[in-house]
Every structure is written in structure tokens, then in C-alpha cells.
């Protein structure tokens, strides 16, 4: 049995007047992959951004409730958001490498967090790229521009960049939606490997993907979490009618 890494309690979020999340409760386990599924606009991205306080950057957002990571509410006044984001990596829908070399992309995080030593930096960068299963493809051209990589390679580079900061949790917001099936397969494999060391939350539109990569799945609808449980159980034997409708509607 693994421990709860993140506990979400009574989370509500408003964009101005409009409520986007309503009383969400969830327990996310350490070293497991938790998938979030649901129709477009149901609040999956909004929710996942609450876990690293990325919503802080959006105008007019109001949040109530708690998100406890290792027992500490990350919305407490004394929380250092910058240090928090270092512990919680995030991958986005569209690969977003910086317009600089492959090496500098991966070194970006360690550098801003104060790793000055060249030898140490090189090690961290190499570990990150290896961790993202990209080393064989780029080891001979680390100084070339990251934008010359393919989409799938770019996304793995973004993963490498995240790993280099040594986070505890990695959030993926539809990381494969811009990728072809082969690149998608590589990322899924990678996610599977990464859960040994990291706690992973992934938003996906693709239910087969959720079924393939995750241990737990949460189904969101109109800002509420309708059902949460073991992936196998949720897909094979959902409790709620809404969940069943969604799953069968897509599959059937």
C-alpha cells in the first residue's frame, strides 16, 4: 500500500463569477499514476493547475478549500510558491521547449536554482535526459537548438527539463494530444517508468490512455468529481451512471 501524497479537501475555484470547480475531494497516492478524465471544459486543467498553484497567475481566480501535500496545505499563507513549483513539475499540452539549446533547456531549472558547478550541471542534465528516455537520440547534439527536435522529442525534452529540477510530483496536462501514436507510446512508457520515483497526475482526453497508464482514475463533469477509484474498477464497473455513460459513450 502506498501513502497519500496529495489530499484535496473541499476545493472550490471561481473564475470571476463563474465557478469552475465544486467541492472536489481526492486522495492522490505516492508513486502511483492518477488519471483525470472528463469532457472538454469540465475543469481538468483548472484542477491540475491547483496542485502547483499555477492558477495564481490567472487574473480573477478565487480558491477555497485545501490541497495538502505531505500533510501541509499549499494554500497556507507561509507557503513559498516558487519552492513549491520546484517540488511539483508540470508538463503542458503543447511541448514548450525554450528557444535555446537542448543542453540549456535541461540546465535551465538547475541554473535558476543555483547549480553553478559545470561538472555537476552536466551530470544533472545527462541524468534528466536519460530519465526522459531521450539520451540516445540527442547525446551527440546537445548544443543544437531544441526547436529542431520532433514534437515527441520536444515533449520528452520538457520532461527531462522537469526531471532536472528533481521534483516529487509531476503533473501532465494532456501531454500527448499534439503527438502521433508512436510518440504517444513512448511518453506512456516513460510515465510508466517514472512512477517508480515520482507521483504522477495526468489529464487525458483519451480513455484508452487513462486505462493503459494509470492506477487510479477520477472522472470530472462540470467542475465536480463524479467518481474516483482504481482505474480497472472505474472502467469495468463504474458506480455512477454518469461515469458509465461517459465511458461507454466513448468506447461504444
Amino acid at each position: 500500500m502506498s501513502m497519500e501524497k496529495i489530499i484535496v479537501r473541499e476545493l472550490n475555484l471561481w473564475y470571476g463569477e463563474k465557478q469552475a470547480l465544486e467541492d472536489v475531494n481526492m486522495q492522490i497516492r505516492e508513486n502511483r499514476v492518477t488519471a483525470l478524465i472528463g469532457p472538454s471544459g469540465c475543469g481538468k486543467s483548472t484542477f491540475i493547475r491547483c496542485l502547483n498553484r499555477m492558477n495564481d497567475r490567472i487574473e480573477g481566480v478565487r480558491i477555497t478549500g485545501k490541497v495538502e501535500i505531505d500533510g501541509k496545505n499549499i494554500y497556507d499563507k507561509d507557503v513559498d510558491v516558487v519552492a513549491l513549483r520546484k517540488r511539483i513539475g508540470m508538463l503542458f499540452q503543447k511541448p514548450n521547449p525554450f528557444p535555446m539549446s537542448i543542453y540549456d533547456n535541461v540546465a535551465y531549472g538547475p541554473r535558476i536554482h543555483g547549480t553553478g558547478d559545470k561538472k555537476k550541471l552536466r551530470e544533472i542534465v545527462e541524468d534528466g535526459i536519460r530519465g526522459a528516455a531521450l539520451w540516445d537520440e540527442v547525446s551527440d547534439r546537445l548544443e543544437t537548438n531544441a526547436l529542431d527536435l520532433s514534437g515527441g522529442q520536444q515533449q520528452r525534452l520538457c520532461i527531462a527539463r522537469t526531471l532536472a529540477v528533481k521534483p516529487e510530483i509531476i503533473l501532465f496536462d494532456e501531454p500527448c494530444s499534439a503527438l502521433d501514436p508512436i510518440a504517444t507510446g513512448k511518453i506512456e512508457e516513460l510515465i510508466h517508468d517514472l512512477k517508480r520515483e515520482y507521483t504522477i497526475v495526468i489529464v487525458t482526453h483519451n480513455m484508452q490512455q487513462a486505462a493503459r497508464v494509470s492506477d487510479y482514475t477520477g472522472y470530472f463533469l462540470l467542475g465536480e468529481m463524479i467518481e474516483f477509484g482504481k482505474t480497472k474498477k472505474l472502467f469495468e464497473n463504474p458506480h455512477k451512471k454518469e461515469t458509465e455513460d461517459y465511458i461507454t459513450g466513448r468506447f461504444g
Binding site: N52, M54, R57, E59, V82, A83, L84, R85, K86, G89, M90, F92, K94, N96, P97, F98, P99, M100, Y108, G109, I112, H113, N145, L147, C158, R161, T162, V165
Partner: protein, 281 residues
């Protein structure tokens, strides 16, 4: 009766003529300046100091003066303009303050250039004489810096805003602070646009007469200090023409000025292409 088809063709011809008119105007001016200016243009004209009230010798003092004055203008205007742009684009939300700043910049842009000259005359030549040296290259540069400030601010802001949100989010997600993100992602990403804006305003500053007409000397002065007086191409051109000293030499100056400004414009393009070649595509 005019059929729809004929009307269509007529309109097309009219539009083509308007477009052609622009080229015609450009070529007539350039061609005329070239023809007139080429007569006096030679190495002596460019590289020596004028003698006999500009009737002989060259215009090197004016070229040097202009280059120094526009450099001073950019040196002062660029940090302030870029700073304001970063503040507007990254450090504040749209509201009263940003409205006021934008209105100020627009109004600054709308002020006739001779008014800048008058203002500079009072401020730099009279009130701040002890610091600027009175009618000096520094006073001229500072006056021009006020003029190009809004342009630099605007072009910088525009290019800062083109830095994709995705990249900034990526930086924040790695635990970067706002300052680190601005320094490492926003400014490098906006640099080509900022440079282009600066170079274009350099060109504009070099071509201004009215703001610096009270601050530049009529007699040839080899610039020795920014706290001393000097010449500029535009004001010298004005002097030679209005006093009827030499129309031909005035055209020589005009040609020199055009060449400098065109070089600046093209190098702006070149710099922009060079800097963007490794970026978003």
C-alpha cells in the same frame, strides 16, 4: 453604361496607380537627392572639416555630431523605454495606471518636434546649464531621447508581448521567479524586436532638425566633449539652405543623411533576421 466588369477594372487601375504613386514619390525624391548630392560627394566632403563658412572642405563634424547625439539619445531613452515596456507587459495588470502610461506615451508622440526643441532649450540650456554645458551635444541628445522614448517603449512592449505564454509558463513551472522568467525567457525572446525598435528610432532621431536646432552650432566644431557644442547633419543642412550658403552642399548633406538612415533601416532588418533565426519558427 459602365458594366460591373469595367468598373472592376477601373478600380483596379486606380488602386494600382495609388500604389505606384508611392514608388514614384520615393524614386523622385531619392533620385533628385542623388543627382544633386553626387556632384559634391567625394572623400574630402565626407572626411574633412569645413572651411570658409562650410563653402569648402567637408562635413565630418556634422556626421560625428549626429552620430554622437543619436547615441546619447538612445543611451538614455532605451533603458527607460524598455523598462517601462517590461513593466507594462509583465508587471502590471491593465487598469488605470497602464492607461495613464499609454496615454502619456501617445501624447508624447503627438507633440510637434519643435516643441521638444523649445522645451529642451529651456530645460537643458537654461535650467540645467551647469550639468549639460548649455547648448551641448548632451543637451541635443537628451532632447532627442524624449522624442524617441514613446517609440522605443511601444515597439519593446509589442515584442515583449509576442513571447509565447507557453514559454513563460514553462519557466514558472520549473520554479522560476518572475524576475528570473523575465531575465531568461522574456527579454531574450523580445530582444530582436527591441533591437529593431531601437535602430529604427536611431534613424528617426538622426533625421530630426527642429528639436536640436537651438542646441547645435552654426560654425564647424570638431566634437571634443559631450558637454561642448557641435554640429548635426540636419541643422547644418538647414543652415546652408536658409542662409543661401550652398544648395549643392546641402544636397550633399541630404544624401549623406539618407544613406545613414537607410543603412540603419536595413541593418535593423538584418539584425532582426539574425537574432530570430534560432527562435520560434
Amino acid at each position: 453604361m459602365i458594366t460591373a466588369n469595367t468598373a472592376d477594372r477601373l478600380l483596379k487601375i486606380l488602386l494600382w496607380a495609388s500604389a505606384f504613386a508611392i514608388i514614384l514619390v520615393l524614386f523622385s525624391i531619392m533620385g533628385y537627392v542623388f543627382l544633386m548630392g553626387a556632384g559634391v560627394m567625394n572623400l574630402e566632403f565626407i572626411f574633412t572639416t569645413a572651411k570658409n563658412n562650410w563653402k569648402e572642405g567637408g562635413i565630418i563634424t556634422a556626421i560625428e555630431g549626429t552620430l554622437i547625439v543619436v547615441s546619447i539619445a538612445v543611451l538614455f531613452a532605451a533603458p527607460i523605454g524598455i523598462g517601462a515596456a517590461i513593466y507594462l507587459a509583465e508587471f502590471t495588470r491593465e487598469g488605470k495606471t497602464t492607461k495613464i502610461i499609454r496615454l502619456a506615451a501617445d501624447s508624447l508622440n503627438a507633440i510637434p518636434s519643435i516643441v521638444f526643441g523649445l522645451f529642451g532649450l529651456t530645460l537643458f540650456i537654461h535650467y540645467l546649464k551647469d550639468y549639460t554645458g548649455g547648448a551641448s551635444l548632451l543637451s541635443a541628445g537628451l532632447t532627442l531621447s524624449f522624442m524617441i522614448l514613446p517609440t522605443i517603449m511601444r515597439t519593446s512592449e509589442v515584442s515583449i508581448r509576442t513571447v509565447p505564454l507557453q514559454e513563460k509558463m514553462g519557466s514558472y513551472a520549473l520554479g522560476a521567479t518572475k524576475l528570473q522568467t523575465v531575465k531568461n525567457i522574456v527579454i531574450p525572446g523580445a530582444l530582436p524586436g527591441i533591437f529593431t525598435g531601437i535602430i529604427l528610432s536611431l534613424g528617426r532621431a538622426a533625421g530630426e532638425t527642429a528639436p536640436i536646432v537651438f542646441m547645435t552650432a552654426l560654425n564647424p566644431i570638431t566634437p571634443s566633449s559631450i558637454f561642448r557644442g557641435g554640429n548635426a547633419l540636419t541643422t547644418t543642412l538647414y543652415y546652408l539652405t536658409s542662409e543661401g550658403i550652398s544648395i549643392n552642399r546641402a544636397f550633399g548633406i541630404a544624401l549623406t543623411l539618407i544613406l545613414i538612415v537607410l543603412t540603419l533601416n536595413y541593418s535593423a532588418r538584418f539584425v532582426n533576421n539574425y537574432l530570430t533565426r534560432n527562435q520560434r519558427r
